[in-house]
Amino acid sequence: MASFAETGPSAPVVESVRVDMVTPRARASLTIRMIIAIIVAVIMLIPVIWLTMTAFKSRPDAVAAPPKVFFTPSLDGLVALLTTRNLVPPAELARLQADPGKLSLFQRVALDRGMTIIGPSPYVGRLRNSVVIALTSTFFSVLLGLLAAYAFSRYNIPGKSDWLFFILSTRMLPPVVVTIPIFIFYSRVGLRDTHLGMILLYTAFNLSFSVWLLKGFIDEIPKEYEEAALVDGYSRMRAFLKIVLPQAMTGVAATAVFCLIFAWNEYAFAVMLTQEKARTAPPSIVTLQGTGGIEWGAIAAGSLGFLIPVVIVTFALRKYLLRGVTFGAIRQ
């Protein structure tokens, strides 16, 4: 083979590798790093794995001492979480057990504990509340946030940075500080323990966040596109809808998902401002109590079902996580 010095470069050099980064020693250190990282990741995930296991343990297994690592999977927890059950009289029990084919899966699980399902548990309704409140408030906070962020990004608003700091201030306070007056106010106007009240509160609460995050995304879109459109006779609104919005779509999606997680996970406001009608899932998971002590299986099943969407979203959002947690201040 002709040496490089004689022929010159035969192809453009597009990538250079530092020699000291490909030596066996450097490679070995990377492998060691990977092994340590895997061990750390496993340790970090033990609680989540344990939760998953507990969710599928039968009732006695869930509270076994010492804790059981190997067990037969069971739907006990899930059934306890989602249904209200009654004890079945022995005669009836024998009759039902004789012909289990007709019964649904849940009915059969309940029957193994000598019970029959009489209806859904209150938790089902609370989960529905969570979904409704989280989705609606996210929609409004992103919509309003988008308009405000556009204004903050494109117009010269007097005292802009003060306003931006000010709308963030409620985010910085302990929720209890904010809740006391809201509690009194809501009690007066009849918004306490209503879906509307919670949606309003979460919208306002998330709005500050969505303005900050969306402003960052909109700032990145070059002004020149809109200016060109405005010169061509577009109205501001039309320029916003046709030019800014399509380019800001990823940002909008990321913001929406962050708002969704905040509203979904929120506990403090929910526990203080709701009782029955509009109570969301997080405060109810804490108070899940069965007859005869804490139903750990049910709590684990509830927590797991509650956490799975968040885990999926974390993966979907991984590129924007940093931006989200720093209110859009740091972009990478």
């Binding site: 530092r18 000291d20 990377l30 492998t31 790093r33 990977m34 340590i36 990282a37 750390v40 990741a41 970090m44 033990i46 609680p47 989540v48 344990w50 507990t54 509270v63 010492p66 700091f165 963030l168 910085m172 306070l173 302990p174 929720p175 209890v176 500080v177 904010v178 006391i180 007056p181 809201i182 509690f183 009194i184 106010f185 509160l201 306002a204 997680i261 996970n265 506990y267 403090a268 203080m272 997080p282 998971i285 750990w296 709590i299 927590s303 509650f306 956490l307 968040v310 885990v311 979203v313 974390t314 993966f315 991984r318 996580l321 940093l322 947690v325 720093t326 201040a329 740091i330 990478q332």
Partner: protein, 273 residues
């Protein structure tokens, strides 16, 4: 929605008022503030909060920064592992508190088993949630588990932004790895590290969900931080709204102070990047 509550609670903080008593607020001037500032109990909540904030923020910084140093190099599946480590941060604190309660349980929990108390002899193993001294540590442990990934995330972005040529120049100059760390890595990451520390400090003052889920402030008042105490004062027992508002305002002033520093740091970092 942002202003009205704050103005209202400022007013309540100068009154004797309970929202469930059905009586109009009675103006008492600065009495609430005087009572709060004069009571040793009040300072003990600050001590608890401060201790918790200091311990957990310090540990999170160390653990998070080490994790970032570990994960900064690109290796197989490093992206996946990073995301997996970030999962705890996104979870609902109250749910996290709830299931850590099971993990910490001395008889059926897994935590004691993992740290080496294999025996089923419950009396000798640590009682994480029922011992007044250990309960705060239990909260710190969960907090570190949950939020070290946050510090890691910030540090990681700082580390990745350090230009390679700085290290190359250092190697040419034969600077030791130790010296490279102190002279290049640390100063370059410092602003982001500061952002992380300030953010976590503010959050520690707010800490409510996690503590409520894990210990509800107990045993006794051992883990009653300001936020938990405020909740107990305002929404349990006699609903002492006036006093709670006054206490809330003291917290508010402290936090506004810290967050001012925080925002200023953030703006500076933004300017650099």
């Amino acid at each position: 929605m942002n202003v009205v509550p704050l103005v209202m609670s400022l007013y309540y903080s100068f009154t004797k008022f309970s929202d469930i008593a059905g009586k109009a607020p009675v103006w008492v001037g600065t009495l609430n503030y005087q009572q709060i500032l004069a009571s040793p109990e009040f300072w003990s909540y600050y001590a608890t909060t401060g201790k918790y904030a200091l311990l957990s923020v310090a540990l999170q910084t160390i653990v998070g920064f080490s994790l970032a140093l570990l994960l900064k190099a690109k290796f197989k599946a490093s992206g996946l592992i990073t995301t997996l480590i970030l999962v705890p941060m996104m979870l609902s604190p109250v749910v996290v508190g709830q299931f850590w309660k099971l993990i910490f349980n001395p008889t059926m929990g897994i935590f004691n088993q993992l740290i080496g108390y294999w025996s089923t002899n419950v009396t000798t193993s640590p009682q994480w949630l029922t011992s007044p001294t250990l309960a705060l540590w239990a909260i710190v442990i969960v907090d570190v588990w949950m939020w070290s990934p946050f510090v890691m995330l910030l540090c990681l972005s700082g580390l990745k932004a350090i230009p390679d040529y700085l290290y190359e120049a250092a190697i040419v100059d034969r600077a030791s790895a130790w010296r490279q760390f102190w002279r290049i890595t640390l100063p370059q990451v410092a602003p982001l590290l500061l952002v992380a520390v300030l953010f976590r400090t503010i959050e520690a003052f707010k800490a409510f969900d996690l503590i409520q889920g894990l210990t509800s402030g107990g045993p006794g008042t051992a883990t009653e931080t300001i936020a938990v105490k405020l909740y107990r004062l305002a929404f349990l027992g006699t609903h002492d709204t006036g006093k709670a508002s006054a206490m809330a305002y003291i917290v508010l002033i402290i936090i506004i102070g810290i967050s001012n520093v925080y925002i200023r740091t953030l703006n500076r970092v933004k300017g650099d990047a």
